[in-house]
């Protein structure tokens, strides 16, 4: 048996009884028209994704089959507000093994994108997005590292072009929201 280690508390998708008022019967059809989740209707809930999921092995709450089921049932707010949505490691095992070719990991990515549009985003993604906008790199590369390259015999690190990055990302909702919030914080 593995020792139990608890570093972060996982919040399960709400186990409250489902009220008919929270069901959005058209949600699955909306998803079936979005890039990445086109095949959600083909899922027949066999559970291959969950049984092969490395994260599900150690998480008490993350179950890809359940997330897909919730989306199929139209439990839009429940699934989009669920913390467990962010546990997928994007290893694509479920995508490669799904007998119905649902592309489970892509459906979960679409659900995450929708959650992000509502503002439900773990901090780490905001930090990485801001770093990309500022420097081109997803992480803030320490000056020391950049200088050290020369002594390590490495060529200079290619520079990002923040101006061009911003230009190409103009009109992208997620980026616009991020910048709006950034301005508010700056005030």
């Amino acid at each position: 048996m593995l020792p139990k280690v608890s570093i972060m508390t996982e919040t399960a998708a709400s186990k409250e009884p489902i009220k008919s008022s929270e069901i959005d019967p058209k949600f699955k059809y909306e998803l079936s028209k979005m890039h990445g989740s086109e095949k959600i209707l083909k899922c027949f809930q066999c559970g291959t994704c969950t049984s092969d999921c490395p994260v599900a092995r150690y998480s008490d709450t993350y179950r890809p089959r359940t997330l897909i089921h919730m989306a199929q049932l139209g439990l839009k707010n429940r699934v989009l507000n669920s913390d467990t949505l962010w546990l997928c490691a994007a290893c694509f095992t479920c995508t490669d093994r799904c007998p119905q070719d649902v592309e489970v990991a892509s459906v979960i990515r679409v659900l995450r994108n929708l959650a992000a549009e509502k503002g439900c985003v773990p901090l780490v993604f905001k930090e990485q997005a801001n770093s990309v906008l500022e420097s081109g790199y997803a992480y803030k590369i320490p000056e020391l590292r950049i200088k050290k390259r020369e002594t390590q015999g490495l060529p200079p690190l290619p520079k990002g072009n923040p101006e061009n990055i911003r230009k190409t990302l103009k009109g992208v909702k997620f980026i616009a929201n991020l910048e709006k919030k950034g301005e508010q914080h700056g005030q």
């Binding site: 570093i7 990445g36 990515r109 992000a116 390259r149 390590q152 520079k159 061009n164």
Partner: protein, 295 residues
């Protein structure tokens, strides 16, 4: 385009995995591969795919368009970057509407995606462009004294539809490349499982248990080192091994090497040249063996 590639470093490597870059550049130079630096860089887009698919598509397409202007194929050391650039290249070549939409964004920076280049990860380049025979003939110090294990990681193998140069269920490329150095590559339980790195920051508990699983399976077959080809997998094991040992009260002592470090040793390069000093888990035991074996 011959053996000349535009090298795409990605973000994780310059951030904290320089040993991988140093050793890869040395090994590639020896194999006659010429590397050209990216004229301008931005993240491949993968880290932002979970929050905005559109952002990922634009960032990836921007890099592809820059490479097209150079008329060079891309080489990456990070499987995440390779997978993303390959996938976006395929999607945009096939979907005209999406291509036009993304090109509308790129136009703002005077760029256009045309779909004229390809992307390869180091592993694929070594297999397809250099070939096992040439790699074997570059070995001057066969590492026959070493028994190691491999960790491919996920993004070099999956999703098969976009990556597709090896079998995700029973991959052979890295094994063959390891054996080309003279070392033995051992089989172990759940070889293709995830290292856990993508879950760091969201649930460290899940991430560390996955890494612990892998390390214990590698230990079970008495591998002297674990060989990786991904900066994130390397960070996951190398940086966390001591932490995992403490947490689970177990001892592993398994050094985690970047594949080009192993190949470089077999090519006769010194541990200093291959930046072994950057590794957190002590590799001196196997280096001693390599040194003694060569005498």
């Amino acid at each position: 385009m011959g053996n000349k590639f535009l090298i795409f470093l990605g973000c994780a490597i310059p951030y904290r995995v320089s040993a991988y870059e140093i050793s890869a550049r040395k090994v590639l130079a020896k194999l006659g591969v010429e590397l050209v630096e990216m004229p301008e860089f931005n993240c491949c887009g993968l880290p932002l795919d979970p929050v905005s698919h559109e952002t990922m598509l634009i960032l990836a397409a921007k890099n592809l368009a820059l490479a097209e202007q150079q008329g060079l194929n891309i080489l990456t050391l990070c499987p995440g970057c390779a997978g993303t650039l390959k996938k976006v290249n395929k999607i945009l070549k096939e979907d005209k509407t999406l291509r036009e939409q993304i090109n509308g964004h790129l136009k703002e920076a005077g760029l256009e995606f045309k779909g004229t280049i390809t992307t390869k990860h180091l592993l694929q380049l070594l297999k397809e462009d250099i070939g096992l025979d040439k790699i074997k003939s570059s070995v001057v110090k066969p590492l026959t004294m070493l028994k190691v294990a491999e960790h491919n990681g996920c993004h070099i193998l999956r999703p098969k539809e976009y990556i597709g140069f090896d079998d995700p269920e029973d991959p052979q490329t890295l094994k063959a490349l390891i054996e080309a150095t003279g070392a033995t590559c051992l089989d172990y339980i759940d070889e293709t499982e995830c290292c856990g790195a993508p879950s760091v920051g969201v649930s460290d508990k899940v991430a560390l248990q996955l890494a612990r699983d892998k390390l214990s399976h590698v230990k079970m077959v008495d591998a002297q080192a674990l060989i990786t080809i991904c900066p994130f997998c390397h960070i996951m094991y190398d940086t966390n091994e001591l932490r995992i040992e403490k947490m689970f009260n177990e001892a592993y002592g398994i050094p985690i090497l970047h594949y080009p470090q192993l190949l470089g040793l077999a090519m006769g390069m010194t541990p200093e040249e291959l930046a072994f000093n950057e590794l957190r888990v002590d590799a001196s035991k196997i280096l001693k063996q390599v040194n003694e074996g060569a005498k």
